[in-house]
Symmetry: C2
Subunit: 150 residues, 2 copies
DNA sequence: GTTTATGCAAAAGTTTTGCAAACTA
DNA sequence: TAGTTTGCAAAACTTTTGCATAAAC
């Protein structure tokens, strides 16, 4: 699991004319971790410990900026909550209905995406797969077994 | 464009022990139209005219019930808004970034869905395609043309 | 020194909840 | 009549906004 090169992103954002404030860099570093899937609230809570002056508005502003500039994708797998993912490109996401965990999927689902569908111009696509994750299946199984023993 | 057979659903819900109230039937009828993609708010506003005593809480309760029982699917293509779709089965949805319109897609995207991915049990999947719809493309085109004439 | 971003607090918007009253079977 | 569901109003949550202050370049 390699570390993401956010210094390149910092350079690019600078070139685009953005001010690289403390808050933005902190959020960028936090969010660029491999396989990270965070809500704005999670990012805020975690960074608030280290940067007590941080405000939730800044978190939302920065996440919007990073999404707009193509460094994050917004995952709308969970109603009423946007989750941010720094792994780019069309890749399916798995959502556990039991524990809410999100996982990137890299295989088994193949998608052919045309630039045009029914006369509409296609720009991006998201695939969301719902079910029960490995860990929750294990828990359910051991629960069933202990019940059948009694 | 055929009309949906909601009387069958009414029968099934009765068999499952649900009370078939006026409100539930009205919402069911409203939502079962072909190619309908409604938010709770839209359903509420439209039915409120005919049934002034209807409350938004009942709309949410009923939509949740119908989703749980498998008669509706929740489309989370738009952040902060759940859209309900009575067309079942895995079918991709197209979302126009310009006008917000949602369209069912029945072709061009093929999906192979396994019952198991990375050890996780798969139960359902959603495919969301984002872009600019036919109508908005047309508007943009005519706008560009009229500008280049001046 | 000028411009841009931040933080705060309030607002906006969607969805949920608790409970008495109304309705369904 | 017993058991559910409804409607209301308030609460809970997420996200956005406006504006004075602070930070970045």
């Amino acid at each position: 699991m390699e570390k993401r090169d956010y210094s390149k992103i910092v350079r690019e954002l600078k070139d685009k004319g953005y001010t690289l404030s403390m808050a933005r860099i902190a959020i960028l570093r936090y969010v660029m971790k491999e396989n990270a899937h965070y809500t704005a609230e999670e990012i805020y809570k975690n960074l608030k410990e280290e940067y007590p002056t941080l405000s939730i508005a800044t978190v939302y502003n920065t996440l919007k900026l990073l999404s707009k500039e193509g460094y994050l994708q917004q995952i709308m797998i969970d109603p009423n909550k946007v989750i941010y993912d720094s792994t780019l490109g069309i890749h399916p996401h798995f959502y556990c209905k039991v524990c809410g965990k999100i996982e990137d999927i890299n295989s088994d689902i193949k998608i052919q995406l045309n630039k045009e569908i029914n006369g509409n111009r296609v720009e991006e696509a998201h695939i969301y797969v719902y079910g029960v994750c490995k860990d929750c299946l294990k828990k359910q199984k051991s629960k069933r077994e202990s019940l059948s023993l009694n």
